[in-house]
Symmetry: C2
Subunit: 370 residues, 2 copies
């Protein structure tokens, strides 16, 4: 195998695919990047859950395929001087990488030892603007469960119906939901669950433009492609919570609050939770005002925040991090905080009350001294 | 105790002194900041090795002294809104901190439980411009030993003689030395060793100005003061290497090299040392050129760097990090690399050959395959 290509392009490709390498895999090939020079130059990483591959421009002198350690190759290419890099592999699978006076010799193994990528079947295609998909993933991925006992919740539900795409993540304590209008070129309903590790890769290959990403939905796998780059991942199987049933629609009180004010008050009262102390913060919803407080064995804190809305001093305990995540995901100055009783789920949404973004969070029981 | 002060000033003072708190100490008081309100407001932290205290402006209503947890108090003050903060402590040692609607209540203990700071005796005073002291510490502190079996080398030697101050650090593999002219107001010779942990604190309170820092040298302790802030530390005792004897003055060859070129070549050849692999890099000093290479079990790298100077292919092995540290500490475009044989100490200094900065580094034995 022998080819010459631009260092910058190779570096970018390596950075992109190497996310799917498995440095700790017992299988040597999976620690590596598969480099295949045929009519194109293709770089592939695959950790048996998801694969990323990308094609780059190269002047290919001799074809062939080898697997080179991903970590080492990434470091080597990054440290190369800018310019044309020549990569050649001899019969002993020794790879020589040259640019100017800089030379590296790396051990590789034959590309034949690399596992086959999963094949896509019975595909349903879908084109989504990259900037929309990216922001929808960002605003929901933090609420994906990390609990391995319910694997289906370790991904986000995609629901496409009547020109609207909804992404839902849920971890047992909260639910994050984003809706956007999209043109999905059909009238059927699509539902599939994409694992969080792949969502995070997909989000990273999205640019901030309206150009579309092409999703292919197979029976077992999903692929996402942008330009010359493709990500293939397993779908997660199982029953996903029905958000239509789970999220309350009617509330006794709604409070309109400046997001930054509330975020600062939350940060202040939770300051005393040092050293990983997990105590709830208490919000008391009153008349035009929310009083916040927190208490540990050795300290107490008190703060407040003015708002529009009124309730008869409803006390609700929250995990401060869940509130922070919810506020961070809303790109508006004002939010709506919708409550019923001190023990029922609350909903935080954008002030427009339009459910393009919605975050449901369950209260934490307050102990008597709180 | 009750006082009011500016949040910003209190925050800065707390940030400064809390470096000397001991969050893991078995003695509760040492986890804290001693706050003493008398004619001034003084904040103190002391970890039994070094103490830092600072005085700030405050409107003191009632005097007194308490110890408050350093980590918690730092977080609380940082998260306060800007403005005037009122701190009061009641008879049960409950501290109430107020600013606007924000209130914290923290548990404290009596200031009587805080250990006494060391007393300075028979002081010798010395004034050094802060910018000079700071850069001298930065350029030598990295070569301080971390090996606890020879405590005297866990600090830097200060030598003041004939209007010149020299700081020397040595760790058994290398030596870093900086000289500067200073006016020390006397004709006697001063020699003392300052522990690295205190040097790093002293460096942080130096500003980038020519204003002086006042050092007091006692028999057992040293204090450094700038404005209202004082650091007191133990001196290290023991015999320190004589740099006059240890550093070679005569060399067979001297190479003048562009520092950035050499640094890049070192970074490139050492790229293959991933996963903490500790192999030397080999430098072959030839005619107007230095060839660099490195070899691990699975890879090799080669690079080169042009320079002024000539030798008959002298091969020397180096720890790449020691070379990197030495180059980083020289603020000039060109450096001098002075060598004798492949097994004798090398000296790297500024191209002016004036020894204002000098770094000696010992070679690493190269294995036959290298």
């Amino acid at each position: 195998m022998k080819f010459t290509c631009e260092k910058m392009q190779l570096e970018e490709a390596v950075r992109l695919v190497s996310k799917a390498a498995s440095p700790k895999s017992p299988i040597d090939a999976l620690k590596g990047i598969l480099i295949r020079a045929g009519s194109d130059l293709r770089l592939t990483c695959y950790d048996l859950r998801r694969a990323i591959y990308t094609d780059i421009d190269a002047d290919i002198k001799d074809g062939g395929s080898v697997v080179v350690n991903a970590r080492l190759f990434t470091d080597v290419i990054r440290n190369m001087p800018d310019g044309l890099v020549t990569v050649s592999v001899n019969e002993d699978f020794e790879m020589l990488i040259k640019c100017g006076v800089t030379e590296y010799t790396l051990t590789t193994i034959s590309g034949d030892e690399y596992p086959e990528l999963p094949e896509m079947d019975r595909e349903r295609k879908l084109d989504i603007p990259q900037n929309i998909l990216s922001s929808m993933i960002q605003d929901t991925i933090f609420a994906v469960s990390t609990n391995e006992s319910r694997p289906v919740y370790m991904g986000s539900l995609f629901e496409i119906e009547n020109g609207t795409m909804t992404i839902v993540s849920v971890d047992g304590f909260r639910l994050a939901l984003r809706k956007e209008s999209i043109d999905h070129g059909g009238s059927d309903t699509l539902r599939f669950i994409v694992p969080a590790y792949a969502l995070s890769d997909i989000e990273k290959i999205c640019s901030d433009s309206e150009e579309t990403m092409s999703l292919s939905i197979g029976t077992k796998h999903i692929s996402a492609s942008v330009g010359n780059t493709v990500i293939i991942t397993r779908r997660l199987e199982g029953d996903f919570l029905s958000h239509e049933k789970a999220v309350p629609r009617d509330f006794k009180s709604k409070f309109k609050i400046n997001k930054a004010d509330l975020a600062r008050a939350i940060d202040r009262v939770s300051t005393i939770l040092v050293d990983g102390e997990k105590k709830p913060i208490k919000l008391v919803f009153g008349d035009g005002e929310i009083n916040l407080s927190c208490r540990t064995a050795v300290s107490r804190s008190v703060d407040s925040c003015i708002c529009e809305g009124s309730a008869e001093d409803v006390e609700i305990g929250f995990n401060d991090n869940y509130l922070r995540d919810a506020l961070k995901a809303i790109n508006e100055e004002e939010i709506l905080f919708c409550i019923n009783t001190g023990s029922s789920p609350c909903v935080i949404k954008s002030a427009g009350d339009d459910e393009s973004y919605l975050h449901m969070v369950l209260p934490v029981r307050l102990s008597p001294g709180n």
